[in-house]
Subunit: 117 residues, 2 copies
Amino acid sequence: MTNPLDSVFAALADPTRRAILAMLLEDDMAVTDVAEPFSTSLAAISKHLGVLADAGLITRERRGRVIWCRLEPDALRAASVWMQGFGQFDPVDLDAFERFLESELDVPSDKILTEHE
Amino acid sequence: MTNPLDSVFAALADPTRRAILAMLLEDDMAVTDVAEPFSTSLAAISKHLGVLADAGLITRERRGRVIWCRLEPDALRAASVWMQGFGQFDPVDLDAFERFLESELDVPSDKILTEHE
DNA sequence: GCCATATTCAACCCGATGGTTGACGATCCC
DNA sequence: GGGATCGTCAACCATCGGGTTGAATATGGC
């Protein structure tokens, strides 16, 4: 009924959620740690994580008291293929990707991408 | 402070709008012709076209009575780069793209496509 | 058992979104 | 000018989305 692309694109439409995905690109994180950089409440972040999980973009696993969030990049594949069909864009360009992450967060990207600075 | 990715992804989150983009991939179209396959009102389609135009995904140009809609695939570039940064997906795979277009357009034909005639 | 920590749930507020209908402006053609 | 076609606008309605706060649940440590 509902196309999975609907929920994936809708999840990506929010800058907080894109920032969360960028953080998880580096490593799995606990919910509390995910929420830490944001000025919104923990409950709001928990909702965002629920949206991301419903879209298949992350999974959450409880270990003890802590719930760990893991990026599931495969969920982006369908959406990526869809978009590439329109533009024949260049293949993966991680430099451009980092620039976008930086422009999105208004914080240095080394907060998010620690490697290859 | 609004990131252009916000509006692009939000525009792509609606299946009607994705279908419109897919139609425009073939050729420029008049608003009335864009609306024809859908069961919703012309005003609703006009709103969708406004959302797509605000996101930069299409442009509209009046020629006489008719307003022609043109796809602007470059607006997808930033979003595509963003997504590719996550998955290192395969480069453009047009076969997969066509399959996705089919799954979007053919399957829900009883919902998207008009029922009269 | 008790308390602190980690996370979600429930109820609410408010602005955005997608849909409708009917009126309106613009344009072409006669 | 008159009439038909093209498209948007305005007002309205219902639903969704993101935010809040406070209570509830789950777990670990003492």
